[in-house]
Assembly symmetry: none
Homo-oligomer: 216 residues x 4
DNA sequence: CATGAATGAGCGTTCATTCAT
DNA sequence: CATGAATGAACGCTCATTCAT
């Protein structure tokens, strides 16, 4: 997998921790740390879902996560870092699904699968997805998030090349596709749509309508 | 024009002020008040553009506007009200332009003009437009903002009916069109695009690609 | 009358105004000024009665009085001055009634009449009387209020002397009597008592119980 | 003692803290929290005594208490809550002393002891006692304060019954006695009296003068 | 490492007072 | 003089962050 960071610590805290990727066998300490990190992120997610951005503060997150504020700052240098890690957890999962679509039988099917993945991702935890999109747009774009967004664009771009578009066209079109999909699914989430099939059909129409007829 | 409220005071302050619509001749007092309100809104806009959401607080806004905090609260009950009034000023202007497009020669030309208006609006003050979109999405949607957004959708919807779509299709498609346009122009603004022609062409492609071939 | 100040301006503003006491024939200007002062004081009284100390601010007072804030500051240098003038208006009226009791047939009857006047005064506008007592206790004791309170004590003291007490005893007892009466009627007002007869009887019992048997 | 709450935390902060009454042995954490609460209340008391109601604000209280504003709000939800807790601390102490008087040899001696306790309490910190009385009268009477005041009245009432008064008379007279005592000692405090013996004698005269001869 | 009490800069808001019209 | 818009010091309160235990 290309981005496993959301399985471990968001930030290297000890030398041992940095070996996570190389040494998947974790000591009890590391396991506990990973569990705490996971609890914090899920606590943050729950606060956002249940009480919104207004109630999203480190004390509330810690309380919801069942840890102390101090522990939050043990694993994350700032509140923003928590938010970024949560975005990474969520978008990372989506990215994995999208990248898995590259194994489809045809470029068109691959693109359809990618759209389905995006729609499904948005409808799984719609409030969380929407608020994280807002936070992502609001945050000073750090490298990690830029990389993540770029990875999604790249996945789309590779698929466009596979479908026959030339490199310049793919580079131009891929970000637009992402913008179209994000715009539509966020708006649908805000309208509390729940029918993934109908939404997916409309997004497919928008995406394939935008692509040159030559695609696929 | 259907929504002239952004030309007057955001909140009725004196009995006389409520006569704005009937009596466009303003007394010196009203002029002064309107000037203060305008200064506050422009101060808010400048803070957002120059220093971002992080620095967007009432004292900074007042300072930038050349008035005192007290004056801000003379015309707006809360900081949020300032933000909402600014969104209304901006979106109201856009709405006026979009509605003016209905006089075009054909449905297709009207829609193209609407897209051009949206693109132009976004590129005029890209940072402000983007941050206000964020705030609009974040704010508890009061009636005024919901109405404004709905007016934009309605303008699109009327155009779709004119273009031959049936009522159910127009109702379904109009919000999607807005989501597509917003998604694309916001993303373009974030990427600091400045070429309105190129962006407009891509948005037109997305919009007309999404519409049924029967349109126009 | 010993303290007519509450009929004119609380503070001398013009030379002409200072002649009020000597020249009761007022010019139209002076009449208007006196009417404004009266309106402000009654506005203050109404705010206190209807909305309490929490809502007692100069803007609210001006609004309730039907004048502008500027006018309030034309006649009173500070908000505190308004409060003091209102206390004077109320306590001055009471003082006049109390002093009028000195003409009773006997010291005992005079004292009973004084008590009745205090009770009636408290029950006339109980909320106002209570809040003004609070403000009087809270305010830095300026000369005017100290004089007013002292006048009440003096009236009591004269009555005690008339009743046969020696000068030292009268000086000691008079303030205590006022404290007893104030304490009882304020507490009764707070309990929303409205029966002047019952309250008067209890206050009489307390006062005459405190006085030496030799009195009267 | 019927109301020991002023010995612990004003507001339950941790589950453990609620066990105070059952488990007087305090953990270091509880000790620290209790010390902070005590420091805040004493800081509030000192500000009131030294600089008056005008300077009584949360930042000043925190500074005087040697803690930060944040700590004030860790233990008290609002400034008013601080005031109420301070009133409880002071009146609670007085209530304890008054209730202890019930063990006197006779009803008359008990009542004399109660009066002595009130006088001593007022003269111990006269400025504080007076300002808290003002605040108590000004505050929207929450349950806690009403209960406290009622407890004082009840203690008096029980003593009146013991002295032979019937239940109706005791119910009527007890609040009056409290009003008389409060009125006299507050006024004495304001006049900066310091002689507890003389003041006590006068209060006793007022109280026993008010009581029916049958008492005791 | 975990805890959670403590910190304090900073924000939204009020309101007594001023002053241009 | 009346008006009421404008002022700005000051307050109550929050919450990201630190640190003693």
């Amino acid at each position: 997998m290309s981005n496993p960071s959301h399985f471990g610590l968001a930030y290297p805290v000890t030398k041992a921790a940095r070996d996570d990727a190389l040494n998947p066998r974790k000591s009890p300490k590391q396991l506990r740390a990973a569990a705490t990190v996971a609890a914090i992120l899920e606590g943050a997610a729950r606060i956002l879902e249940e009480r919104g951005l207004e109630a999203y503060n480190t004390n509330a997150v810690a309380l919801r996560a069942g840890v102390s504020v101090g522990s939050v700052y043990q694993y994350f240098p700032t509140k923003e870092a928590v938010t970024r890690a949560l975005i990474q957890r969520e978008t990372g999962a989506l990215l994995a699904e999208v990248e898995a679509c590259a194994t489809a039988a045809s470029p068109r099917e691959a693109l359809e699968a990618m759209i389905a993945a995006c729609v499904a991702h948005q409808l799984r935890r719609p409030v969380l997805a929407r608020l994280l999109d807002l936070e992502e747009a609001r945050l000073p774009l750090a490298d990690d998030l830029r990389d993540l967004a770029q990875s999604l664009v790249s996945a789309l771009q590779r698929n466009l090349l596979w479908g026959g578009l030339d490199s310049a066209a793919a580079r131009e079109i891929a970000p637009d596709l992402l913008a179209i999909v994000k715009g539509m699914v966020d708006a649908a989430g805000q309208r509390r749509e729940t029918d993934a099939g109908a939404l997916g059909a409309r997004v497919r129409r928008a995406v394939f309508g935008y692509l040159p007829d030559a695609f696929g």
